[in-house]
Symmetry: C3
Subunit: 290 residues, 3 copies
């Protein structure tokens, strides 16, 4: 595993901020100063624009690169964009796509290497040997330092991991999506000693506001009550819920606001006990444990 920071900054919404390159650089620097030195990209974020916005900012202070770990993804092709070149959204885990996407990412990010490349989705046409060869070639050339996957179930993980070691599986996990706790996804990672990354740790913000489903309301109430008791924000409790897992997940923090980042960072020194953790699980599930 590349030496990622315990929290990873998500760039998913970077293009929505309307920031100048200098403002983007300031955000990168602020994250870095706070110890969040790893940045999570994908080729297609922002309609294939985010990597270049990031790279443009990084070009204002190239020496910063050495302090950062850059993660990107490939394997999905979107219609309506030159880089996707697709009629319909589809997966592509061919060697040609992987190489082309990585080389495009390197140019856009204005760097010579990705610290970590992830295959974005489990392609049903995945040819494990072909992917392994593509990865090995990119690693020999120094273009990627490590390789992993995202959104893989345990069987697809085992298939590809047997062909090329997967350092992580970036999964969606939060109290409203608990499946990876129970379907073997996290069991398989723990057995192999791999640390997951977690996207959407706050369910895209729905844990805190905007989702008025009974489950979301219950989770929000419990996060608020535990936060009040522990003297922290509800979001901090939500991050602590993830960090409590024995696989030591690395959450990808999607907020661009410093206050949000600070709430995530506060979770690094908060260990929930099993009972508080279960209260949150139970609020999401709408039932007590069996």
């Amino acid at each position: 595993m590349p030496n990622l920071s315990p929290l990873v900054a998500g760039t998913w919404r970077l293009h929505e901020q309307g920031w100048s390159a200098a403002e983007r650089l300031r955000w990168i620097e602020r994250c870095t100063d706070l110890g969040v030195t790893s940045f999570d990209h994908a080729d297609l974020y922002g309609g294939y624009t985010v990597e270049a916005l990031f790279g443009e900012a990084l070009a204002l202070r190239p020496a910063l690169r050495e302090r950062l770990q850059l993660v990107s993804k490939c394997g999905i092709r979107l219609p309506g964009h030159a880089r996707g070149a697709a009629r319909i959204k589809h997966y592509d885990s061919s060697a040609a796509h992987i190489r082309a996407s990585v080389e495009h990412s390197l140019r856009a990010l204005r760097t010579d290497r990705l610290d970590l490349l992830l295959l974005h989705r489990p392609d049903p046409l995945l040819d494990a040997a072909e992917v392994a060869d593509a990865v090995a070639a990119l690693q020999r050339e120094g273009k990627i330092l490590a390789f992993g996957v995202s959104n893989f179930g345990p069987q697809a993980f085992e298939l590809l991991d047997a062909a090329t070691p997967l350092v992580t599986n970036q999964i969606e996990l939060h109290p409203l999506r608990r499946e990876p706790l129970h379907d073997g996804t996290l069991d398989a990672l723990q057995r192999r000693g791999r640390r997951p990354m977690v996207w959407s740790p706050l369910a895209g913000g729905r844990l805190l506001a905007g989702d008025e489903s009974p489950a979301a309301q219950r989770v929000r109430w419990v996060l608020g009550a535990l936060g009040a008791q522990l003297g922290v924000a509800p979001a901090t409790v939500a991050y602590a819920w993830l960090l409590r897992h024995p696989t030591h997940p690395r959450p990808v923090v999607g907020t661009m606001r410093e206050a949000g980042l600070q709430q995530a960072l506060a979770a690094l020194s908060l260990r929930l006990d099993a009972e508080a953790w279960t209260e949150i699980w139970q609020a999401g599930a709408g039932q007590e444990v069996a």
Copy 2:
């Protein structure tokens, strides 16, 4: 695997009998005389009272201990009891809980060792290395002789088994709950040569009476018809259905009545053929095999 008897006596309902210690001892002796020398406990049975009721009886004739195999479980904490010390029902597979629970079980059962300790449920926060260390220490001290799990799916079983050998998985299996036959749970046990234990072999009695769902009625009818044909009780056919599985399951017999125990024992010399077995499966499933 400790040398458990082919049938295991369940103690789940021991506290409901209103028996004196002498009566409880008589029940233990009767089971033992019939070859049912293994007793299945859990820390929390009877609201954390059953182990002590059993131990009190055993103290009337301590030499009996050498003829018995004592199984207990830990890993669930219930509210409303000093020993659970919980606000809500939750799982706890921490080393501290495992040790504390085992030591409490030994005192309550008035014995120096458990022949087998089971982790009661697959805790989503299970730290396999921590559990393995706790188990190893308890085994070194002679406090537990063997270790296994209960209610684990195949992936969680594989995770923990890689850290510490699991001698069994005690699962719920009967014609109204056939999932372990098809979801990989029993496949994983057979592949590793481990014998399951089976709780609720008569679906808590619903196979015989009280459940008027179409499935239960169908199963009851088939058990009755096969029993009439074979000259045994319907319950005997239900036990034989379990014993027919190639993993050689050990049913946990919940009845405290000797007649019920005898019906279970009769199944040990009854081998159903595949067709009779399938008639029962089909009655539970409400459809023929594919």
Copy 3:
């Protein structure tokens, strides 16, 4: 793996043709001349009649046997037939049934060996060691050359493969049944380097006509549009969809018409791109990929 042809001729409907032995021989010869030299049987096809119909034809020209690969299956027993000898449909993976079924198949097919024997369904009472012993004995005697399974999920496959190597898993796969792409069945085969066989590649013809469900209509429309664009029949596109999978599946062609066989053969030189493949997947699923 025995050296099966890329397409396998299904014999499922041989008894429905009303053909003389000479006509059946002509069909076998025509398949063989077109490179379809493998024939897929099961003991119970045609109510246990198809193997004998095939064998009778083969007896007209015994030397043809050396050019053929004969596959058969056992493990299901059907009521209403002397060979099934059953009150209800049930599975039987006992050594006795396997041997009896193979020996019956050899007599009916008028051959001294099966190139490949498949266990037809995952019997919940499967005893892997017993099956492995039965298979080893039949292989020693030269009665079967290779062994595999049909309709097995990944856990049951792993169980039996650990006891005796399984050269294939013959599964149902088509755009209206995509589960094996996502439930680990094909992942497990790819990881072990085993080629699946595929039954019902056209969903029993429903891909082309007769099924007016929205999903079937969508699939039919896409197969037609892609076929028109590529200058091939819709059925050819459907076969190409299967052949595109990295496990190199061998479809079992059910049609007895030469035109249908030619449409299947045309797929061997047609490689769909990932996007066209996904259009078909999407038509079956009724949604785009995640």
